[in-house]
């Protein structure tokens, strides 16, 4: 392996400044650098906290008691958000819920979640699951995999995230244990926003303009 002169120079300067020899050992991270993770409350208060936080960020939330109620909820959404074209993750959970079928029955044009970016950018609605959720901050964690294309939660104007109670986590600490070896994950806390122009808050800049989070009981 040939040596990279820039690399050797930089690392050499670092070592000299720190007075460390090559391969000098590193002590463990000090205990004072760690903070105990948050402990979760009971499921109901956690869900309430999650939905409340999302609501504060201008996200829309809903609890869906049964799979049967899903159709009415989707009908509502299609109407209020004017959905003509949609794309849905092909995960076992969403397939089991039959989301794509319901949308199709509502005369929404269905686009494959594996379509190219231009096609996906034309969609009004992107439907995903939720791999983990953090009540304290109102955060949804979406992992990336062949059946979880990233663009589905990014390009369409509306993002609908359907989650199960089992996705609840107490703290970032638990979430990191799940996702640290992934190639990619996105932590979503409310719809996209900016206050770059005269500090006026605008919801929906480059990411989806509106975020809907539904909790399946």
């Amino acid at each position: 392996m040939s040596l990279n002169p820039a690399r050797e120079e930089i690392l050499g300067k670092v070592r000299m400044a720190l007075m460390r020899r090559i391969d000098a050992p590193v002590p463990p991270i000090p205990a004072s650098a760690r903070v105990a993770p948050r402990v979760a409350g009971d499921v109901n208060s956690e869900i309430e906290m999650l939905l409340s936080e999302i609501g504060k960020l201008s996200g829309n939330t809903r609890r869906v008691a049964h799979k049967q109620d899903l159709k009415a909820a989707l009908q509502d959404l299609v109407k209020t958000e004017g959905i003509k074209k949609a794309t849905v993750w092909k995960t076992p959970d969403l397939q089991e819920l039959g989301v794509a079928d319901v949308l199709r029955s509502l005369r929404v044009d269905m686009v494959s979640p594996h379509a190219d970016k231009y096609r996906l950018a034309e969609c009004d609605l992107g439907v995903t699951g939720v791999d983990a959720a953090l009540p304290e901050t109102g955060t949804l964690i979406l992992r990336s995999s062949p059946e979880r294309p990233r663009m589905v939660s990014l390009l369409p104007r509306v993002h609908l995230a359907i989650m199960r109670l089992s996705a609840l986590r107490a703290d970032l600490h638990q979430v990191f244990a799940d996702v640290k070896d992934d190639g990619y994950s996105i932590f979503i806390t409310g719809p996209s926003r900016t206050s770059d122009i005269e500090l006026t808050l605008t919801i929906g800049v480059h990411g989806p303009k509106s975020l809907h989070v539904w909790v399946m009981d």
């Binding site: 820039a6 400044a17 720190l18 002590p27 005269e198 006026t200 480059h206």
Partner: protein, 516 residues
Amino acid sequence: MSEAPTRIDFRSNVQHVQPQMPAAVQKATMKFLGTRASVVGILGDDHWQALRQAGHDLRLHAINHLDYYLAQLEEQVTKAGGHVHWARDAEEAKRIVLDIAQSHNVKRAVKVKSMATEEIGLNHALIDAGIQTLETDLGEFIVQLAGVGPSHIIVPAVHLTKEGIADLFREKLGIDAPTDPVQLAAIARAKLRQEFLAADMGLSGANFIVAETGTLAIVTNEGNGRMCTTLPPLHVAVVGIDKVVPDWESLNVLLKLLPRSATGQKLSAYTSFITGTRRTNDENGPTEFHLVLLDNGRTRILQDEVTRETLLCIRCGVCLNVCPVYNNVGGHAYGWAYSGPIGAILSPQLLGVEAAGDLPFASSLCGACAEYCPVKIPIPEILIRLRRRVVEGDRVEDPSASPVLRVAAEVGGRTLGLPWLYEFGSQLLKWVQAPWRSGGWLPNLPPPLDRWTMTRPLPAFGADFREWWRNRTPEGRRRNLERKIGLGVLAGGLIALAAWLLTSGKAQRLTRKRSR
């Protein structure tokens, strides 16, 4: 924007601050401090202080073992299918990015906001080589159109009005833009959407790089960060070597500190965790990933144990928000990419004291920055260290201040080491001030003391406490008398000497010599 300046003249910059700048900046800073207060309040002061200490300790641990963590980072990124490059300085970094772009025939690049790329002036280098390079954070997009640098780390265009921005859009984009922030944002959204979809290359920095797995953590709100790092087939990240953290657990602390301190959010709208390229072709994401690790003076900062803590910075911007100097002058006065208290300590260390020696003095040492810094950087301590570097020099750099100042300080210092001279001086000032005195004040003094009186009067000199104290006891009264006689003799002697010089013509001869 933001090419490395050769000399930052802070006073001159201050004198040229746009009149609307302070008010605009204060609107932003007050707002962010307000939202910060509520999200920090929710955690409670004990918890917050524990987080700050943890943030400090883990960042310091990473910096103190930087060689180890950088090597681990490189290994992990490479394992994840990424390419790691090392850039010693700005020129090398730009060359590396340009090479990557040109070898991939890149014509259009989209960029997420990144202080490191501002620092090296990356945009100019790419644009000059014919590669369209668009800033995509709304604020950065706007200042790029306007051709100026950012005035605040978090809200770069805060000094511009909506009317000004509408004019800008009209002029540069040819769009008839209304003066409404929501609609202006919609215009930017539509315009940039096309760019995101068509871009060949996405450029970013990173808020943190995790050595444990080779992961970039990118904290944004608008969604452009996701766009730039998901849509184009090629992703290039330029990140300072100081951004490395040991492991994911560190992010547990840092992600609680950064968004709350920066914008008063519990978490930003989008926090992305990116490790190398996409794992399979069935996934979204770039097929090629390059990480450019940037030194550009950071290794020199490591040399001094105290100033080394400058590298703990997580770029939250809270020190700007709370700094009374920054609030009065805005970001441009600091002359480079970094402003406020962090700019005052980072710029002189990256650029050298020759170029940025004014900045460590651009502070009243009030300490508010240190009080708020989420990773407890001892900013006032570092400012004083850098002031010493400017006037005396140290192990890292030679001084840049005029040696005349050192001579003056030497005279002053020695005077203060001689109590009789100091006392004599105090009494002398009471007599000598007479022509300038007005009641209890000295409203207009000659240079160099006019640097004080140009803005407010100086109180009149009135050292009489020692005399008052001594007069309380008979022994003291005696000493007072002795002192008065002593001072009288000294004063008399000086007057006699002056008189002799004048009358004997020696002074005339001296002045004649000089004028020839």
